[in-house]
């Protein structure tokens, strides 16, 4: 596709349920990032994939959060046993590589945990 796509665009779930959020990066981009934006906050880094290297998971807020990137392309962010404080917009970005190159963001998934 022409840009980064994310699905679903909106997700409402009940506390305690697991959710999966998907990101399709721009074709050929080797770097992929997940961020989240809680209400009234800036974008908070979660996890970063670069090629075949081990991902940088330093931003994941708890062990309920995990992410995979299959085949160096599509990525899935999984939140287990969701809590109300997980409610946020989850944004995915990709770039050609992981250095100075511009990060291109998807439209985000709006997650609401009731």
């Amino acid at each position: 596709g022409a840009g980064v796509s994310q699905s679903p665009s909106n997700k409402v779930t009940e506390k305690g349920k697991d959710v999966e959020l998907r990101c399709d990066p721009i074709s050929g981009h080797t770097a992929l990032y997940w961020y989240r934006q809680s209400l009234g906050q800036g974008l908070e880094f979660l996890i970063y994939f670069q090629g075949n290297s081990a991902p940088d998971k330093s931003g994941l807020p708890s062990d309920r959060f995990s992410a995979e990137r299959t085949g160096g392309s599509v990525s899935t962010l999984t939140i287990q046993r969701t809590q109300q404080e997980d409610s946020a917009v989850y944004l995915c970005a990709s770039s050609v590589a992981g250095g100075r190159e511009t990060q291109y963001f998807g439209p985000g998934t709006r997650l609401l945990v009731l």
């Binding site: 980064v4 990032y33 906050q41 800036g42 974008l43 970063y48």
Partner: protein
């Protein structure tokens, strides 16, 4: 502890006048700075960047100024147009440390009044 701060949550400017958005950072290791623009229900889009070896970068109506000694950068938009109304995020990273994620401020909502 916020490393990138945008202390003005909102700014209103008349069409045709200059918009000045400010950003402060605390981490002296940051060496690359970016501004992103975000419309509602869309992901952030890259606007302009500046390396720490420069103090000014200009791109059309947009100019970013960097004052390393004050750990301060600003984005100037002149002349401001109604289409510039959006949330502007300041971001920083440590390129010299390898592939590091962007650290974002909380954003400033700019409203350009016709």
């Amino acid at each position: 502890d916020q490393q990138v701060k945008q202390n003005s949550p909102s700014l209103s400017v008349q069409e045709g006048r200059i918009s000045i958005l400010n950003c402060d950072y605390t981490n002296s290791m940051f060496d690359y700075f970016l501004w992103y623009k975000k419309y509602p229900a869309e992901g952030p889009t890259f606007l302009i960047s500046i390396s720490s070896i420069k103090d000014k970068n200009e791109d059309g109506r947009f100019t970013v100024f960097l004052n390393k000694s004050a750990k301060h950068l600003s984005l100037h938009i002149v002349p401001s147009q109604p289409g510039d109304s959006a949330v502007y995020f300041c971001a920083a990273r440590r390129l010299s440390s390898g592939n590091t994620p962007l650290v974002f401020g909380k954003g400033t909502r700019l409203s350009v009044i016709a």
